[in-house]
Symmetry: C2
């Protein structure tokens, strides 16, 4: 067994499941369904184990070997299994609060067709709430699929769907997962509800060589990436192998060729004033929350002048959605460092965060620690 | 000719020069020495051109083909050459203020032994100011190498070294490059002074599978990366192929085995409480400005308790250098997203930036643009 695929972007774990299904390869998927104590990975963390390789992770590396050996049994027996690992005694080896000192419960299932709807939904950029029976008065592995639009599909009985609809909607909305105990009449069922969000969608407008690093880093940051080029010759899958999709179109058909919704983020770097202007005007007609525009302030003002000259007015919320100069202020002007600051900004916006140090340099931690530091100054 | 290496991390351009030197391959290095108007790349941006491939970039892609064809001549003739490209007429094609509408002057030189001291100095993690004659009363390509410790080495005459010492020290300190005109007595020389800073050094303590994404992203963000593991079996170059250096040592010898200076940044993720504690204590004895500690606040407080129990007091500046929880607040808890936030924090600290949107959401741009937006609201 090899560990080299441990650290693939999360988005590659589900595609690994899809590959196994399509190739008819036997595989087992391990999912963290419950954690007591602090953990490096949260419920919903997944690992796919095949005969000679695995992808993804359920801990910081402390359980993966054991999970692989159990997966071999699960593959042989062909039945889903729930295993609980109590690592509370392992502090010395694995450290306090670092994901290997809690009690971790993992569902191991043979990968079968019941996973295909999940893989396909996410591949299309859709979110899905997956409710899987893990214990109680229903068969383990019985599964339902929830979307806000269509409610529950799948095998779950109506009474269980009714009980699960509200909590599943909430978990999916937050992109979280949890194991719920449902008691109804004489029946009691434990269900793992997994709010699986599709990766956010990034559309990069441009096909110049500076686009490559943005695509490369955005994929590692778990975005689904579409490259849109207006010069067909340059906008090819060969030029941007990491992209999920490369399309060469005319600026006039942007809205016909690409779907833009509240999970879509656009980076505009065509290096062409006219193209950037057409893209900006088209994007402002869509609901997308992020429009990153490459170039200095002066260039944005030239674009605004061009709009003004034509009597084009920006929608009121335009400035809440246009980010220019693009990126977070991380320093450096090499192509990869520029791309790094762009994708960092994409993450902050997609996850609705205000970019700052998690240590919050002036914040409560430091106050608390300052007092501790004083305590530490004991007479020698 | 292929363009696929255009977007290598900047740090790979100099190593490409070293590879060509060591392999005895003919190569030409193109360096931006002057820019009028706004440019995507600044003076000092480099591109290495060999017979069938190139690495690095001098513009956003608008000149690279032309530079390649000139490089073929330079390779044939074997003499350095200065070429100026006036792109001010190309707005329609390349857009305002996006690096292809300025006047860009490029020095093209056959790669020869005069580049070896630069490659070797930077490979050792040292900065070097390179002064190269580009025009005037000295031979083009005549070159000197400046370090704050030893001053100038190389071919430049003493009078020129004297004139160049102060400006070169300043440019190197700021990591900038500029072309200077030196007039002395009857002589006039144009010298391109390139303040070449070695990539900042990252030392990652840990050898768990979550280290891989940090190494991978830090290399793309132009860090020189050393992985230090205390479990020899896991800390191997095979496990971390992207790392520049992988060492397996005992926590007791940290300071003997690794150099720590003001350009060194440490990420502590051993997942082992005892190891983390030993690393932290050792690092606080060094001048390094950044110590990122993986794990929740509670764990850091446990570490502080352990120090206190042993009467160990933290240096006064400890809390200015310890960043925990590690990373910028960009959201996401997958291994790659955690690594992304860590390396984003490394960049901000290494470049002395306060992480925030470059568009400074509440700042002057928006005020200015708000007024413009109002202007745009013309009666239909």
């Amino acid at each position: 067994m090899t560990d080299t695929n441990w650290s693939v972007p999360e988005t590659e774990v589900l595609s690994a499941v899809g590959d196994a299904l399509n190739a008819g390869r036997e595989a087992v998927i391990a999912t963290v369904i419950d954690v007591e104590g602090s953990a490096y990975r949260r419920p919903g963390a997944k690992m796919v184990i095949e005969a000679d390789e695995s992808a993804g992770s359920v801990t910081a590396g402390c359980l993966e070997d054991e999970v692989r050996s159990i997966a071999a049994d699960v593959r042989a027996v062909g039945e889903p299994r729930v295993e609980t690992f109590d690592l509370t005694g392992d502090d010395g080896t694995w450290g306090l609060g670092m994901g290997c000192n809690g009690i971790i419960t993992i569902l191991l299932e043979p990968v079968d067709e019941s996973y295909r709807p999940i893989v396909e939904r996410v591949a299309e950029g859709g979110d899905v709430g997956v409710a899987t029976v893990v214990d109680g008065d229903r068969p383990r592995g019985e599964r339902g699929y929830y979307t806000p639009k269509d409610g529950f599909a799948g095998d779950l009985p109506d009474w269980l769907r009714a009980e699960l609809t509200d909590p599943t909607a909430g978990l999916l909305d937050r992109g979280e997962a949890d194991t719920l105990r449902i008691d109804r009449d004489e029946r009691s069922v434990e269900v793992f509800v997994d709010g699986i969000e599709a990766p956010p969608h990034l559309v990069v407008f441009g096909s110049g060589p500076d686009v490559g690093p943005v695509v490369d880093l955005a994929k590692r940051a778990e975005f689904r990436v579409t490259v849109v080029g207006f010069r067909g010759a340059q906008a090819t899958s060969e030029a941007f192998p990491a992209a999920d999709e490369v399309v060469a179109i005319s600026p006039a058909n942007i809205e016909d060729e690409v779907d833009f919704d509240a999970d879509t983020h656009a980076v505009v770097m065509t290096h062409n004033f006219v193209d950037d202007r057409l893209v900006l005007e088209a994007l402002l007609d869509t609901p997308i929350p992020y429009i990153g525009l490459m170039g200095p302030e002066e260039r944005f003002e030239e674009l605004l002048d061009a709009f003004a000259d034509d009597g084009v007015t920006l929608p009121e919320n335009a400035l809440d959605r246009i980010y220019t100069p693009i990126g977070l202020d991380l320093g450096g002007d090499s192509p990869y460092r520029i791309a790094y600051s762009i994708v960092a900004e994409l993450l902050a916006v997609a996850n609705d965060r205000t970019p700052q140090h998690l240590s919050n340099r002036e914040g409560p931690i430091h106050d608390r620690v300052d007092s501790r530091t004083v305590d530490n100054v004991a007479p020698e």
